[in-house]
Subunit: 165 residues, 2 copies
């Protein structure tokens, strides 16, 4: 839980960490659904005041849409349900570190807290190649935690890409 | 036309530059339409083999969607029309420098060439704050040109924000 620095709050209490595990399991369920339909297995949910307000998994192949990453699908789901483009007071759970597009979308949506499972050393922009979620030059910064269900997510992703080689 | 380095081709010939001006005028027309409905005046078109295959303007307020920047709207329009998430052999024209989300989406869509009008010193990620379109660590890089109709676009943006202060 402490791989990346938190800029806006202390590390979560054990109780919060347990909640984070439960929500990440929901994101992993969505990743499993993506895999079942031939999409890269990544899932995301957005939680606000204890309720899931948005969710999604990768749909780039099904939708012929390169922007249909799990995070963007979940953000669009949440903002259309809420009727507001700002997702304040929410946490986004995603099973893979956000790429540049997704990190940029998270900043634009003003999401205050992001929890991701496994890092993406090739494209991750929440600590791996860079950190757009905590860039002091942008007009919004997130609290970021990683490592929640990291092994489960990494195992699923490795198996997916191995099967397609 | 030469503010940013080109990584994949020489600078455009005068004939190409004239074509670029004409296409950017189309992007600016879309920016004007955005302004007319109260959205930040930014427009984008995607051109492939001389045809417009996708277009859009900012719709973040109308759609309650923080991801509905002109570039993302145009990319989704083009990929849904073409039925392929890859926009190879195309040029994206946009009236404002892409932000992190849009630059990331352009890279994911494999767009080979980007022409933008005016830089965005606060959020631009195609040369201002960083350059995600030409990041050697990512798996795609673009040819980038800027300054086409820069004054027209900057004037429109300044007037929009001044009126809302």
């Amino acid at each position: 839980m402490a791989e990346l620095p938190s800029t806006s709050s202390p590390q979560p209490s054990p109780e919060l960490a347990s909640i984070d595990l439960a929500w990440m399991d929901r994101a992993l369920e969505l990743a499993t659904r993506a895999e079942a339909v031939g999409e890269v297995p990544v899932g995301a949910i957005i939680v606000r005041h204890g309720d899931v307000v948005g969710s999604g998994h990768n749909r780039t192949v099904a939708d012929s849409d390169p922007t249909a990453h799990a995070e963007v699908v979940a953000i669009r789901d949440a903002t259309s349900r809420i009727g507001d483009w700002r997702l304040t007071e929410s946490t986004l759970y995603v099973s893979l570190e956000p790429c540049a597009m997704c990190a940029g979308a998270i900043v634009l949506a003003r999401i205050p807290r992001v929890v991701f499972a496994t890092p993406d050393p090739k494209a991750g922009m929440a600590g791996s190649l860079g950190n757009l979620l905590q860039d002091v030059r942008l007009n919004h910064r997130c609290e970021v935690h990683s490592g929640v269900r990291a092994d489960e997510s990494a195992t699923m992703l490795r198996a997916f890409f191995k099967a397609r080689r």
